[in-house]
C-alpha cells in the first residue's frame, strides 16, 4: 500500500510524516500545486504552518490544487489523515466538522501528552483498544477544537470523536477534551497531536505508530 504525504509551502512535519509512513508502507510526497495523488491509498495532510498560518491556520492551504483532488478522493471513500495543521486544513476545507481556535493559553505548547482512544473501530485506530492510552506529543498554537454543542452530541453519538486528551493533563481548552475526530462517513480523520513524532523509541514513544499501522492494514485489506 502507499501513503501520499502532501507538501505545502510552509509544511514543517511532512518529512517526519513521510518517515513514519515508510515504517508501515510505501510513501511519497505530493506537491500542493499538483492535482495528482499519484495512486496513494492514504493521503496524509501533515503538520506545519502552511502559508505561514497567516489569516487563520489552514485557511489558505485549503485552496491548493491538490486539495481539490483530496476532496474528490475523500468523497469517494478514500482515507485521509490530517495531523495538526493538516487537521486545520481539513476543517477549513469542510472535509471535517468544526474548527480549531487559538489555544486557551494563547501560546504555542509543545508537550508529550496522553490521549485516550475513544473509538477503536475506525480505519485509523483498529490496532488500538478502546480506552487505551497513547503517549503522543502535541505542539501547536491553534488546537482548541470547537463545534456547536448539538453537533458535538451528534458526533459523539456517531462515534466520530476518536481521541480525547487524557483527564488531568492540561491541554489547549478543546471542547470536551477532543483531540481527534472523523467525518461522518469515517474515512477522514484529523487530530492535533503528532503521531509521526511517536514512532521511534529514541525520540520519545512508539504509540503513534499504531495509527499509521492501522491505516496501512486497512488500505492493504481494501486492495486485497
Amino acid at each position: 500500500m502507499k501513503f501520499g504525504v502532501i507538501r505545502f509551502p510552509g509544511s514543517c512535519d511532512e518529512v517526519d510524516a513521510l518517515l513514519a509512513c515508510e515504517r508501515f508502507g510505501d510513501a511519497e510526497l505530493l506537491w500542493h500545486g499538483d492535482r495528482e495523488l499519484k495512486g496513494a491509498d492514504v493521503v496524509v495532510v501533515p503538520g506545519g504552518f502552511s502559508y505561514g498560518d497567516y489569516l487563520r491556520a489552514g485557511a489558505i492551504a485549503r485552496f491548493s490544487p491538490v486539495m481539490e483532488a483530496v476532496s474528490e478522493f475523500a468523497a469517494g471513500g478514500g482515507l485521509v489523515f490530517g495531523i495538526c495543521n493538516g487537521f486545520q486544513v481539513l476543517c477549513e476545507a469542510g472535509l471535517l466538522p468544526g474548527a480549531l481556535l487559538p489555544n486557551e493559553e494563547l501560546r504555542f505548547i509543545c508537550r508529550q501528552m496522553d490521549v485516550v482512544v475513544e473509538n477503536a473501530d475506525t480505519p485509523f485506530t483498529r490496532t488500538c483498544a478502546r480506552g487505551e492510552r497513547l503517549s503522543i506529543p502535541m505542539k501547536h498554537m491553534s488546537g482548541r477544537y470547537y463545534a456547536p454543542g448539538e453537533q458535538l452530541d451528534a458526533m459523539e453519538a456517531n462515534g466520530q470523536v476518536v481521541l480525547r486528551y487524557a483527564p488531568g493533563g492540561p491541554h489547549n481548552g478543546s471542547a470536551r477534551d477532543i483531540a481527534g475526530v472523523t467525518n461522518e462517513a469515517g474515512n477522514v480523520m484529523g487530530l492535533m497531536p503528532h503521531p509521526e513524532h511517536a514512532v521511534d523509541p529514541l525520540t520519545g514513544s512508539t504509540d503513534g505508530g499504531k495509527l499509521f499501522e492501522s491505516l496501512a492494514r486497512e488500505a492493504a485489506a481494501v486492495a486485497a
Binding site: I60, A99, L101, E104, Y146, G173
Partner: protein
Amino acid sequence: MGSQVGGEALVRARVLIRPKEGILDPQGQAVERALPALGFQGVSHVHVGRMVELDVEDASQLDQMCEQLLSNPLIEDYEIVESA
C-alpha cells in the same frame, strides 16, 4: 490613517471579523484582565478580532471573499465597511 484610492474604479474596503457570540475569546479576556492593572477601570465586553483592509475593483465580490477566505463562518462574524 486615511485610505487612499489608487486607480479609477477601486473601492477601499475594510472587513471586520470577530469571534461569534458565545465562543470563548481568550484574547479578549486577556486584554480585559490586563487593563485594570494598567489603571484603566470600567472596561468590559472586550473582544479581539481581525481587520482586513483591501482595494477591490469589484466590490460585489467582497461577500464571497469573506465567506470563502477572510472569515470562517462557523466561528466568526464579519462586517464590510466600504470607504470609497
